[in-house]
Amino acid sequence: MSSIAFRRRAQLGLLLGPVSLFLAVFFLGPLAIMIVTSFLAPGLYGGVEWTWYPHNYGRILGFADPMFEDFDPVYIAIFLRSLKIAALTVVATLLVCYPAAFCISRLSERWKNFCLFLITLPFFTSLIVRLFIWVLILRQTGLVNSVLLNTGVVARPLELIYTDGAIVLGMVYVFIPFMFMPVYASVEKLDWTLVRASLDLGAGPIRTFLRIILPLTAPGIAGGAVIVFIPALGNFVVPAILGGAKVMMLGNLIEQQFLAARNWPFGSALAMMVMSVMLVLLCVYVIVSGRRGIDAATGR
């Protein structure tokens, strides 16, 4: 082996060694331990007993488990509700972002960059502060209600906060950059000559949209949908703040298992459910949109 090849190897080792060690121990390691924990029995006073115990998963599905309650579909209901809220969030975020992406893609280079900057900026501001603002707007004595009351539109304050709607609104507000970037990437690449050709050949605007524009921007939509759906499904901050104690989502349930109920194996099993939904979505996504998939999903 030549000395140059040897030096390249040494350099590579130096670059990759520390970060590999770090990620193996503190990232992949913890995930592996979580997977193991999800198959262990919960101890009586918190803690974990090292025995094979697949009932954590059965319990999610509602089956009776040797230690806890009888058949009870409460967890599967929470799971389904979380799926519903995450799906609604995806649809709403898409409706908010899609038309705006078209408008911004037609702007001049300078304005385009400025608009993208304005959309990315909120992502780097405190999540909790952005959600808190919506509490002020939506709560009983909040902005919307006081305006409606003072103008006499309603006689009693509306119940806006602590509803599914409030959670979806909060999620949309938080996840706009996640959806916008991939959607924008595919809208910007859209070949407008095809659209013109379609219109010239006599297809109406609706048909052109459905047959040309929508299929061509589908990879961006799919990418945005995946990266909004996954964090929305496991989110616990939004429901904790805008859902109050009324609306329970998977994220809150997991938090409760770890910090209040102290049933770590069950909490881990719930987290595994979130992970498996994520893996299924990613697989579907990669199959549907091919190898460019991952790059588009991360907005690159």
Binding site: L16, F26, F27, L31, F124, T125, L136, I137, V226, R300
Partner: protein, 276 residues
């Protein structure tokens, strides 16, 4: 047909204006109402005051006791201090490791490159809560006391990815002819790296570091699970306040946080977007 086209265009522009209004009006509202003197109903304007800011910053005010929840500003100062310390440490570690892996993946061809890429994108796709609980289980099993140390390690696991992505973008857009020229003119590899590659890479590294800093300052979910009982960061402090009920001081804190994030993130995004 022309009228239709311009009508469609007009409504698209109006829609986009609404889109930006939706993002920024709430932020503007909180900035305005943080100067509202009404101690009970924060969204009903009763007059201009800077008392809330003064209160948060620890000055003497005339605010009555029951309108407050911070018994002393010490707790808040401690939380801010913790957040800054954590952010400074995580930024240093994550920037070094993230830059190293970006250079390795862009400048070397080796077995397992795709695996590394996948691992780099995993923390960005995974819900925070999963990583949070995985780290909690890991640290408790390993017998590590939860605290500043665990927060710093935990945040680094996902901040590396952010730095990696920003630095990679910079590497991808870089002009390699300069490096070849440098090598042709007789500079050795190290000199070329120091004098040609690194200066070109620096804006990407600084940009990545700033973004890592701000994300670390704002992280709630992962920190929340691995902070233990003794350490509180700024986002955790506010989360706890919100769960106890809302009082006007929080407006002032929120606006100060927003301002800080805006300044640092703007700088980071500017450095990231500037190419060549």
């Amino acid at each position: 047909m022309k009228i239709f086209a311009s009508l469609a265009r007009g409504s698209l522009i109006a829609y986009t204006a609404l889109f930006f209004a939706f993002i920024y009006i709430p932020l503007a509202l909180i900035a305005v109402y943080s100067f509202n003197s009404n101690p009970i109903n924060m969204m009903t304007w009763t007059g201009f005051t800077t008392e809330w800011y003064a209160q948060v910053l620890g000055f003497k005010t005339t605010v009555s006791e029951n309108a407050l929840y911070i018994e002393s500003t010490d707790q808040l100062v401690q939380a801010v201090w913790n957040s800054l310390m954590i952010a400074a440490s995580t930024t240093t570690i994550a920037t070094m490791l993230g830059t190293a892996i970006a250079i390795a993946l862009y400048r070397f061809d080796f077995f397992g490159r795709r695996f590394y890429r996948t691992v780099m994108f995993m923390p960005m796709l995974m819900p925070d809560i999963v990583l949070g609980i995985a780290l909690l289980i890991f640290f408790v099993n390993a017998g590590v006391n939860l605290g500043l140390k665990t927060i710093i390690i935990g945040q680094c696991t996902f901040l590396i990815s952010y730095v990696f992505i920003v630095v990679s973008a910079r590497l991808a857009g870089m002009d390699r002819t300069l490096e070849h020229a440098s090598a042709d003119l007789g500079a050795n590899e190290w000199t070329t790296f120091r004098k040609v590659v690194f200066p070109q890479l620096l804006p990407g590294i600084v940009g990545g570091a700033l973004l890592a800093f701000i994300i670390s300052m704002d992280d709630l979910v992962i920190t929340y699970f691995i902070a233990g009982v003794d350490v509180t960061t700024l986002p955790m402090f506010i989360f706890a306040m919100l769960r106890r009920g809302i009082k006007p001081e929080i407006n002032a804190i929120a606006v100060m946080m927003l301002t800080f994030s805006f300044v640092v993130a703007s700088l980071g995004l500017y450095l990231r977007s500037r190419q060549k």
